[in-house]
Every structure is written in C-alpha cells, then in structure tokens.
C-alpha cells in the first residue's frame, strides 16, 4: 500500500503558474497551474491530445510558453533549453526515446551529460548505477540491438546519472510488459524515498492508483481537476479525463465461428531493413466470425507481420499464406484486396493516409485497385471518377462520425482520432471478409476508440475474420476471441481469450514461448 504521507513531502519543487501555449491559433495549453512536491509521484492525466506532452516539454525547456511562468524551488526561471532544465535538476524520459540506433549505450548516455559527468570511466559508472537500481544494461551494446524495454532503461539511467530532483516520465509503461512495469515501479518508489519527485504521465488509470500520490487532470488543454488518486476509482478518473461517461463496447458471445479465412503456416520472412525483425515460423488461423489479437511490445515484428499479410512485402517463393481459401503469397496488396481483404496500418499519417492529400484522394489510395463499387473509380484515360469518390467520402464521414473542417479537407487537418475513424471507415465501408488492423486505437481519444472497437466487433459478428495487432492489453481483452503473443519475430500458439491472464501474456511478451537459442544452435551445428 502506498505511503500517503511520505516524510520527504514538504517542499514545493516546481510550480507552473497560469501557463499558456499556442500553436498558431490552437491552444495546446490554456492557463494551467500545477505544483509538484519533492518525494512524491505526481500523475498528469489526460486523453491523447489533452496537452500533457506540451506541458512537460515546457517544463523541460524543449518548448517555450506563450505566456505564464515556471518557478523552480521558489524562484521564477525561464527554462531556455533541455540542457538548462538538466542543470536545474530536471530529467525527462520521453515517450519516443531520443536515442541513436547506430551508437552504443555509452555514447548515447555521454551525449546527454554535461562535461563534469563525462569524466572518468563512464562505462563503469553506468554499469554500477544500472545494477544498483535494478536496470541492467551493457554499456558497450549497440542501441539497435536492444529491446524497447532496454532502451527505456538507457533513458532512465541517463537521467539518474545527473541525480535529478525531478524526473518526468512520459507514458513509460506503454512499451513494457506488465512484469517490466512492476520493476519500473520499484525503481520509482526507491527514487521517491530518496527525495526525488516524479511527474508521471499516463492514461493507464490502474497504475496511477498504484503508484501516484497526487493527480492533475487535463482536458482539451485546460486543467479540469486536481485529485487524490487513492480516493478515486478508475471509473471516476476516466470520467474526469474524457468529460463524459465512457461508452462501453458491447459484444455478445460469438457462436457462429465458421471457416478459416486467413491462415499462415510456417511463415519465414527476412526483414528488408537493417534494424528490422525477421519473422520465424509464424503460424496462425483466423476463422469467420472471430477476432484474433496478436499482442506484443512494439518492435517485435508486428510491422513485418502486417507487411507480409497485406502483401506490401510480397514473397512469392513460399507457400505460407492462405487468404479466403486461396494461396496468397504471390499476390500484391491490391490483388489481396480484390479477394475481399482489407488492411489498416499502424501509422495513420504517411502510411494509411497522405497528409497533404484530400480525403477523397485518400479514399482512392486503397480503393482504386478493384471494382468493389457499382462502377470503377479509375476510368483510365478518362480520368478518375471524382463524383463517386465524393459520395463515398460523404458516406464514410457520416457512418463513422468523421469530424472535419470541410467536406473534403486535407487528411493532415484532421485530429488523430478522426483520421483513424476515416482510415478504418474507408476499409469497413467495403465490408471486407478479412480485416487486418495494426494498433486500431493507438493514440486515439476514448470516444473514437470506442466507436472503432464497436465497428470492428460488429463486422466480425457479420462473419468476417479479423486480425488485430495491438500492444494495448485492455483493448485486446475488450475485443479478442483468441489471443497470440509476438516476441522477437516469433508467435506463440493461439489461446482462447478467456484462458489467459495479463501475467501470462506478459511472460510471453518477454519471450517465454520462444524456441531457445540453445536448441537452434544445436540444430545449426548438427
């Protein structure tokens, strides 16, 4: 149980007074007040786009406020740069790590340290400190070879070497297995006992209740509440974050599971990029009326798996993919679409949609390849049927509640949630027999997430086979009928969703199902 009255918790460390940040005409932060005390874990809660990241970037000197002041240990400061913030004693672990893949751990850490801390045997100190705090690291390793969890350790060690008074952590557990998250919490508790303050940004309410002493909640750039997380429930916290009661996704039990529509058998694929993950002996089946979720920490081959199933990475030399009963290996993405498959990639911008193109053009992106409307969109030399595209855009906009500034706005002008509704809607509009979605609701607000998840469930209940790739365990338990876990390019066997606990999934995320290197070495030697 959390010690509510930590003995170190007296002095106010950092205070933010009526701070505002505008990007153009958009208020990312609107007159926000916040104070953080030493020896406490302070949660900063809010939905995606609520302004959490903007606020902490100003505290860390990476952005400058439009108006308002920041006070550090009672004195007003203007934090000009991250280096200045570090000098004051503020360290930050970013959600998207600021690491250099082709440099070693020691080089990465050295880049972030002031001269006096670089002296002497840095490798040795890194090894000692990481051992001490339970964050094992090999200083000579190349970052590219490390797992996401290990990369986060580099960021944390890099902060700790500077003995920060305030440690800011932006969504640290998003990339960790449940077990890794518990280990991180132990490290944070030790830091707080030593008198350090932690500003903990998250939207995972259970863990906020588990480790945070205070909580500040943002919504649409404004501060809406300051609460004691111990006295709240996850439901009340969620309500404060979202501003309305959260719509619960409804599903009945599916008893109409039919034929296998998507099957991978003994699939191997070498990565086409230097730092990518090779897929090793992947097997899976998705049946009509069924949702299979592939869980796993980002960067374990999910992107490669999506590429192979969608046909973006085509490998005609094997016989591993069966799509709606047909051999799929030699087919490109459009041929697979024509069979009745649809795909939603992880990256909305730049992969699923093009920022500077209009929504109608973005519909064309995945809908030109085969005739799934009453007349073809592409009429050759006569040009594209723009009228039909406009109609499709209107239907998708209405069916999936896509909010936009004008009917045919540029994709880049939509918010993350609305763009995701559009990208998913574009595919669901075709009523595909097989749907593959990578991270369906990553970085999307709760309302949009609920709409998307409900639409996916509804599609499966109409007899489609759906494969979801996700790193969000809540989402997986909400949607999946069956679950498999991916780690380092290997996929676990498929389990019924009801048969698995979070802890079991966590162990598999960490690789408990992988064939051991020892065995494969033996095979290679024989």
């Amino acid at each position: 149980m959390l010690n509510k009255y930590n003995k170190n918790a007296q002095s106010t460390l950092l205070q933010v007074k009526s701070i505002t940040k505008k990007f153009g005409e958009f208020y990312a932060n609107d007159t926000i007040n916040l104070s953080i005390n030493a020896g406490r874990v302070h949660a900063l809660l809010g939905e995606n786009g609520a302004g959490k990241s903007t606020l902490v970037k100003m505290m860390y000197g990476a952005l400058q406020p439009t108006s308002g002041t920041i006070h550090w240990q009672g004195n007003e400061v203007s934090i000009a740069s991250p280096a200045h913030a570090r000098d004051l004693g503020i360290g930050m672990v970013f959600q998207h790590f600021s690491l250099f893949e082709a440099l070693t751990v020691v080089e990465n850490i050295s880049l972030a340290l002031p001269p006096e801390l670089r002296q002497g045997d840095l490798s040795h100190r890194i090894a000692d400190l990481s051992q001490d705090y339970g964050l094992p690291l090999n200083p000579a390793a190349l970052v590219a070879d490390l797992s996401v969890g290990e990369r986060q350790r580099i960021e944390i060690v890099r902060c700790l070497l500077q003995q920060p008074k305030l440690l800011i952590m932006d969504e640290p557990t998003a990339v960790l297995t449940p077990q890794e998250a518990q280990a991180l919490f132990a490290t944070l508790r030790r830091l707080v006992e030593e008198g350090c303050a932690v500003l903990y940004i998250s939207h995972r309410l259970e863990e906020v209740k588990q480790i945070c002493h205070d909580a500040t909640i943002l919504r649409h750039g404004k501060l809406v509440a300051e609460v004691d997380p111990q006295e709240e429930t996850a439901a009340t916290l969620a309500q404060l974050m979202v501003g309305a009661s959260v719509h619960k996704v409804s599903r009945d039990n599916n008893d109409q599971v039919g034929d296998v529509l998507l099957e991978l058998s003994n699939l191997y694929q070498n990565s086409s990029t230097p730092f990518g993950v090779d897929l090793v002996d992947v097997n899976l089946q998705v049946k009509s009326g069924e949702i299979l979720a592939v869980a796993g920490i980002a960067g374990n081959g999910q992107g490669e798996l999506f590429g192979v199933i969608s046909g973006e990475e085509c490998n005609p030399n094997q016989n591993a993919i069966s799509l709606l009963g047909q051999a799929g290996d030699g087919l490109n993405i459009n041929q697979r679409r024509c069979l009745g498959a649809a795909f939603v990639p992880e990256e909305r911008m730049g992969h699923g949609a093009v920022e500077h193109l209009s929504l109608t053009d973005n519909i064309l992106l995945s809908r030109h390849g085969c005739i799934d409307t009453h007349s073809p969109l592409d009429r050759g030399w006569l040009g594209i049927d723009k009228k039909q595209l406009a109609q499709l855009n209107q239907v998708i906009g209405a069916d999936y509640d896509v909010r936009k500034s004008k009917e045919d706005a540029a994709a880049g002008s939509l918010s993350g949630g609305n763009l995701q509704k559009f990208v998913v809607g574009r595919e669901l509009n075709r009523k595909p027999k097989v749907l593959v979605i990578n991270q369906p609701t990553w970085g999307v607000d709760a309302g949009a997430a609920a709409l998307i998840r409900q639409a996916v469930i509804d599609l499966s209940r109409q007899g489609s086979a759906i494969l979801i790739i996700s790193q969000d365990l809540d989402e997986i338990f909400e949607l999946a009928d069956t679950i498999a876990v991916m780690s380092r390019g290997q996929l676990s066997p498929i389990y019924a969703a009801g048969d698995l606990t979070r802890e079991q999934i966590g162990l598999m995320m960490a690789g408990s199902h992988e064939q051991s290197d020892f065995n494969s070495n033996l095979d290679a030697g024989a």
Binding site: A62, L103, E107, S110
Partner: protein
C-alpha cells in the same frame, strides 16, 4: 626519376583534388546533409584561387581565396537548405549550375593568362632518397594537407566528442535536438567545412594540376567525389583508398592516350565516369554495409518545434 615514379606522382596529383573534395563532403553527409553542389563550390574555388594568385602573384593567397570562395558558396547552400528548408537535391543542383555560370563570368577575363604554380615542398635529403624520396617527401603542400585532413577527419569522427555530436546529428536530428544540441548550427559548420575543402580542391586544379584558368575545368570531379563518398560507405580510410584508385584510373586513361594505342581517345576519357558507375554498383552489392553506415537522416531538412 624512373617511369614508375612518374606515374605514381601523377596519380597522386590526379587523386588529391578528389580526396580533398570528398573528405569534406564525407563530414557534411555524416552530419545528415547531402550537398550535391561540390562541382559548383569546387569550380568557384578554382576560379577565385586562380584570380587571386594571378593578381597578387602569391599562390598561397590564391589557396586562401579559393578556400573562402568555397566556404561562401557552401554557406549559400546552408542558408537555403538549413534556414529555409529547401530540397537538398535541388539546391545542390542550383549551386552547381550557379557556380559553373558565375565562375565562367568571373573567369572570362582570365582565360589564357599565365598562372602561378604552388611550389613543391622539398625536404632536404629525405626527398633525395631513392624511389620513395620524391614520392613521399617532395610533393606540393596541398597533398600533405589532404592527407592530414583525411587522418584528422577519421580521428575526429571516431575519437572525439565533436565527432560524436556530428554523427548523432546525422543519425537522428530529432533526438539530437531533444538533447539540446543545435542541429542546424552543427550542420552549418559541417557544410562550411565541406565548402572549404571543395574550394581547396578547386585551388588544386587551377594552381597545381594545370596552373591556368579553363572554363568548367572541374570536368565532373565534384560528382566523382560525391560518388567516392558513397563508395567509401562514409569511412575516411576507405575514402582515401578510393580516391587514389580513381586517380589511377584517370592517369591510366591519359597514359594510354599518350602511348597512342588503338583505343579511341574518347573511350579513355570516359574511363573515370565508367569506373565511377562500376564502383557504385560494386559497393551496392554489399548493401548491408552501406545501409548501416548511412547517416539515417541524410538529406532531410530539420525544423524544430517552437
């Protein structure tokens, strides 16, 4: 001097401008910037170096003027690509076209005039050693400068903090910015260094190689230097080897022409360009090597959030 010494000497002379221009570009590219304007910077160096040396009578002032001309031209490139975030490929082409035109204009009054040759350094006794004496101890100063620069760049990139910062900026400018490094300033500095060495390479052509001003006298060497950087997979030691190999090909063509064997002179003149293409193909067959060393943000503009 034996014929073999003479050939080696001319090979070094032909290789040095390539090495000078390429070693600067290697640093520029390691910082994540692709400057295709080498040819333009080089030809500006050549004409300004010649003009300054002709007017003042001092070859060393010519070298200095060439260096500054190279830096000035490169800073134009920097202004566009770093401050105004223009497309680096197009801007590099613009620098080349502008440099070729401007040098022609500046040089129109200097065509056919006698130039000043940068004198060779001759170390007493050592340069009289048999076989290697002239070769190692009797070169012109820019040869030594090119070698010192190559060794220096290799040392700085691999062993110093400055080198670490340059590599970091070239690999991931967002991370470098997040850590508080001034990405744009680092890149400006690297671009200026690249301009300086390209200017030196130009000076080598108009003050050592053929001490006179001839229009477009760079003859595509800037582009070959660019290819050399790719060929070297961004490693200075391989760059030096590549430069001398290319100088060798160049001289081979000249000697073959001189000997009057029955090959068309045009084919021999085309040898360096054909060799460049072949070299690029050969290096590309080991794709993993070049991909791993490629600065990940090469050619991408960087705008920090404000």
């Amino acid at each position: 001097m034996s014929p073999y010494e003479a050939i080696l000497l001319t090979i070094i002379t032909a290789s040095t401008p390539l090495l000078l221009a390429a070693i600067g570009e290697l640093v520029v590219e390691r910082s994540g910037v692709l400057n295709l304007g080498i040819e333009g910077m080089m030809v500006m160096g050549a004409v300004c170096g010649f003009a300054a040396a002709h007017v003042t009578g001092s070859a060393w002032l010519g070298v200095l003027a060439a260096t500054f001309a190279g830096i000035a031209t490169s800073l134009l490139f920097g202004l566009l690509t770093q401050t105004l975030i223009t497309n680096q490929v197009a801007t590099g082409l613009a620098i080349t076209l502008l440099g070729l035109g401007l040098s022609g204009l500046i040089g129109s009054g200097f065509v056919g005039l006698p130039g000043v040759k940068l004198a060779n350094v001759s170390i007493p006794w050592l340069s009289d050693l048999p076989y290697v004496g002239r070769l190692i101890f009797g070169q012109d100063p820019l040869v030594y400068i090119s070698i010192v620069l190559t060794v220096g760049v290799a040392y700085v990139l691999n062993n110093t903090r400055v080198g670490l910062i340059i590599r970091a900026v070239g690999q991931n400018h967002h991370s470098a910015h997040a850590l508080g490094y001034r990405v744009v300033a680092v890149r400006y500095a690297c671009i200026a260094f690249g301009g300086a060495t390209s200017g030196l390479a130009g000076a080598y052509l108009s003050l050592v190689y053929t001490p006179q001003w001839i229009e477009n006298m760079t003859a595509g060497r800037g582009w070959i230097a660019l290819a050399l950087v790719v060929f070297s997979t961004w490693l200075p030691e391989r760059l030096a080897a590549g430069a001398y190999l290319f100088g060798g090909v160049w001289i081979l063509g000249l000697y073959a022409q001189g000997m009057g064997i029955g090959i068309p002179s045009q084919l021999l003149s085309a040898l360096p360009y054909i060799a460049t293409i072949l070299a690029l193909v050969i290096i590309s067959t080991n794709r993993r090597l070049s991909v791993i060393n490629t600065p990940a943000s090469l050619g991408q503009g960087f705008v920090p959030d404000r």
